[in-house]
């Protein structure tokens, strides 16, 4: 006798940011997040492990993305920056307590 089974596929997209996430690059990130959500993927990971600078415009792009993903039933989670100059803006604004953050993308996927 076979037992009924079902499977659920969860799609998670990862966007990696190396170098600077500043006012100039935040525009591109916003567009990439919008495009991904439009494609029906509402679970996003933004990997900042290779970022060396993040400003308030970059933070705003992430926060808007998180709001949009959560509004669509998903979430935007963040791989923490290793560089203290990139991590600083999260601590100063306390957004490190707003985003779900981890040191690796695998850790974030595992808890989804």
């Amino acid at each position: 006798m076979s037992l009924p089974t079902s499977s659920h596929e969860i799609r998670i997209s990862t966007i990696s940011i190396d170098g600077r996430l500043d006012a100039m690059r935040a525009v591109d990130l916003r567009q990439e997040i919008d495009d991904t959500i439009e494609q029906g993927v509402v679970r996003l990971i933004v990997d900042l492990s290779g970022a060396d600078f993040v400003d308030s415009a970059g933070l705003a792009a992430l926060a808007k993305g998180m709001k949009d993903c959560r509004g669509a039933g998903g979430d935007l989670r963040v791989v923490a920056a290793k560089n203290p100059d990139a991590a600083r803006v999260f601590q100063l604004t306390r957004f490190d307590q707003v985003f779900r953050m981890a040191d690796t993308a695998e850790d974030l996927v595992a808890t989804w």
Binding site: D22, M24, F53, D55, S56, A57, L59, A60, R88, L92
Partner: protein
């Protein structure tokens, strides 16, 4: 003898990327080698105030040809003093967003500057905006 470093920037986001290298090079050169390991925090504050000037002191008509100056020196107390002068629209404090406990999306620029600098002063004179940041030495 006081040494002052000057940086003139175009009023666009790309130009802001010159701030970090300028600080790295000039902080030791102006007699503040004791502050060299804090260039990362200075960069964030100076960058945020500069972006605020780009966004609010100029409009789409004036921005393409606009520039503004940043100078810095080390004072007698070994503090780092950074001054900004732009000939744009006067800053209106009423435009400043209120940051509360609830996370908001925009308006963190000056909030971040206030967290990093020991003091932040603004004055309007000679048809120009004058901002001064002081970072404790």
């Amino acid at each position: 003898m006081m040494t002052t470093a000057l940086l003139t920037l175009d009023a666009d986001y790309e130009a802001m990327r010159a701030i970090g290298p300028w600080l790295s090079e000039q902080v030791p050169a102006i007699g503040a080698p004791h502050l060299a390991d804090r260039v990362g925090e200075f960069e964030l504050a100076v960058h945020e105030l500069a972006v605020n000037i780009v966004d609010h002191a100029f409009d789409d008509t004036t921005r393409p040809s606009a520039t503004f100056d940043i100078t810095m020196h080390c004072n007698d107390d070994n503090d780092l003093v950074v001054r900004f002068v732009d000939r744009g629209i006067a800053y209106d404090d009423a435009d400043k967003p209120v940051i509360g406990d609830e996370p908001t999306i925009r308006g963190y620029g000056l909030f971040i500057v206030e967290q990093l600098a020991a003091s932040i002063d603004y004055a309007r004179s000679d048809d120009a905006n004058h901002w001064t940041l002081v970072f404790s030495g």
